[in-house]
């Protein structure tokens, strides 16, 4: 049987893979996307059943080592205080993400020039701006124009209601005289592109059964498939193959029945996220590429950035929202840009975290020592029930060579493919930033009327932003891909996920990941005649 061959293979059907597939579909090239997980089934999302909070700790946990679905691969994260959160299936992380959709600031692309740390990006905000706008249009974004902390934005759906909890936190920021603003979010507040508006189920982090939150299985993928792109699920890529000229020839993958298959391709696009992408490159060794593919710089897997998170919550006497409503609602970028007087370089965003349902309220109360057993239990529970709200601080993480993804010598996935290992330590700058963020947020919550403030830092479950492990740059000695996403070493290999980030900024990354994916796809389209020169 002749080996199957296509024009473009995209590996990974998550945030970036979907955006690039849609953009490239107008070329009428033969495009196949291989995805190791399944199509999600919203009818089975936890919020459709009475055990909704329990399933957040089992088959809809955001930690793959806890979830262990067939599409998942294990990750050795023992040597990291921050554990990985992801979703392996069509839609990728967007199936579970909260939907916060901030953009980088212009200054985030010039970190070395402005602040003397990290590296500058080879592109700037103006380059990405049209792609941010296009992505907002397809994903559907709610929010409010006019935020003084950010460059202007195009028109969007009306913002998410603040609710009682959001109003309390906003009052706290006002009392301090600090910035806050209704956040940009991919939670639809009006009908958008066939999606129904949010009805405040409050379970966005475990799949939106209403379809109000923009995950790419319901945004980009229907459009891309209608335009002819094929998605093959339960297909896990083991390695990218190359020829003697150092060009990628295709991929070897395991199909849904576990059979080993080869798919030839003229162009290979990697969209497996900041962990899956370096894993696949490091697993793709050959005589010509003994240290892994696209790794002549030695930087594949290095410079792993999370955003260290602090979670700061306040207990109030008034009744707030509990588990109702999306956790998105407002953000503050009062401390976003560098001010060395604060004791650290770069900055962070506060994002509102609304509240919790009844089971999570109990478990958090237990964790914080606020929920005694016995006779006092019920009184204590009622002091917590619908009375807690707060925020997270998303701190910019700077690239450091020793924070990295390698292949674990022993751990393997269900197909016997070596699994990734994470080595990560929190920098002193991050520690100082987290401490500052906790202090200021405590002031906000107290000003808002909180009678007790609790904080957690770094948030151990918060490894949901995976960046930097195949960075973009002009110099092949210090970067893995060039300024339009093409590997320096392999001229028909592109990387479009969060791996290519040069620095992390202090905001959630997905709008930037997708804008980059659209930008790289556009670069491919505009160079089709001489793409491999």
């Amino acid at each position: 049987m002749a080996a199957e061959s296509v024009d473009v293979v995209i590996i990974g059907a998550g945030a970036s893979g979907a955006a690039a597939a849609w953009s490239l579909s107008d070329t009428r090239m033969h495009i196949v996307c291989l995805e190791q997980g399944d199509w999600p089934d919203p009818a089975r999302y936890p919020s459709t059943g009475r055990d909704w909070e329990l399933r957040a700790m089992s088959d809809f946990s955001f930690n793959p080592n806890q979830r262990r679905n067939p599409g998942d691969y294990p990750i050795n994260e023992d040597n990291s205080p921050i554990k990985i959160a992801n979703f392996n299936g069509v839609g990728g992380g967007t199936v579970l993400y909260a939907g916060h959709f901030p953009r980088f600031h212009p200054s985030d692309f010039r970190v070395r020039s402005l602040d003397g740390v990290g590296e500058d990006w080879p592109i700037d905000y103006a380059t990405l701006e049209p792609f941010y706008d296009e992505n907002d249009r397809i994903m559907g974004v709610s929010g409010l124009q006019g935020d003084p902390a950010n460059p202007p934005r195009p028109e969007r759906m009306k913002p998410i209601p603040l609710g009682r909890a959001g109003a309390a936190v906003a009052r706290g920021f006002n009392a301090k005289g600090w910035h806050w603003w209704p956040s940009d979010s991919t939670v639809a507040t009006e009908s958008h592109g066939g999606r129904a508006p949010c009805i405040n189920l409050g379970h966005c982090l475990h799949g939106c059964a209403q379809g109000a939150k923009a995950s790419t299985d319901i945004t980009y993928w229907p459009l891309a498939r209608r335009a002819g792109v094929e998605v093959r699920t339960r297909c896990r890529v083991r390695e990218i193959t190359t020829n003697d000229e150092g060009m990628a020839t295709g991929v070897v993958y395991y199909d849904a029945e576990g059979g080993e298959r080869f798919l030839g391709a003229e162009v290979v696009i990697l969209a497996c996220n900041g962990i899956g992408t370096p894993r696949l490159l490091l697993n793709s060794t050959s005589k010509r590429f003994p240290d892994g593919l696209a790794n002549s710089s030695g930087l594949v897997g290095r410079n792993l950035m999370f955003h260290p998170y602090a979670y700061i919550s306040g207990r109030f006497e008034e009744t707030l929202d509990g588990g109702r409503g999306p956790s998105n609602g407002l953000w503050s970028q009062e401390f976003y840009e560098t001010d060395l007087g604060r004791g650290f370089v770069r900055g962070f965003t506060y994002e509102f975290s609304r509240g919790q349902g009844p089971v999570m309220t109990a478990l958090s109360g237990l964790g914080r020592g606020q929920l005694p057993i016995g006779a006092g239990h019920h009184e204590a529970y009622r002091r917590l029930h619908q009375k807690t709200t707060g925020m997270v601080a998303i701190c910019e993480d700077l690239p450091e060579l020793h924070n990295r993804v390698t292949l674990d010598p022993n751990l393997k996935d269900a197909h016997g493919i070596p699994a990734p290992r994470i080595d990560y330590t929190l920098s002193d700058n991050s520690r100082r930033m987290l401490a500052f963020a906790i202090d200021r947020a405590s002031e906000v919550l107290k000003a808002a009327g909180a009678v007790h403030v609790h904080s957690e830092s770094p948030l151990s479950i918060g490894g949901w932003h995976l960046m930097g492990t195949a960075r973009m740059g002009l110099d092949p000695a210090t970067s893995v891909v060039n300024e339009w996403g093409r590997s320096h070493d392999v001229r028909n290999l592109f990387i479009i996920d969060g791996s290519v980030f040069v620095t992390s900024a202090g905001v959630n990354p997905t709008s930037t990941i997708q804008a980059l994916a659209l930008y790289v796809a556009d670069a491919i389209k505009s160079r089709l005649a001489n793409l491999f020169d």
Partner: protein, 143 residues
Amino acid sequence: MTAPLSPAELDDLRALAGAMIPASQAHGVPGADDAEIFAEIARGAGTSADALRRLTATLGEGPGTLARLDRETLEARLVQTWGPDAGALYALALMHYYRDDRVMTALGLEPRPPFPLGHPLEDADPALLAPVKARVPFWRPAT
């Protein structure tokens, strides 16, 4: 593999659940040892068997004997010896207790899944944003 819980161990677990979350007339709620709630706890107890066995040993009793203690005594012993195993069993009880219809109703919650009815969420007073709207843009241009 951990052996499943014996009937005597299930009795212990039920006594512990009742001591941790007792019924309350004042709040109109059953205890975690209520038959329906405990059936859910028992169904979810598979991974907690070792914790229960260690806790029973710590409390100084053989299997099946905790159920013979009165609730207050058991509560006092638990408080005195509190550790990770007791915490794990308390978490198990909380996970099932706080999704019982009667408990949710007593808390003013409707006993139903969030979807498809959803929930209302209030809009806040737009005037709250006035001081921020008055600020001049303060993002750093980077040319």
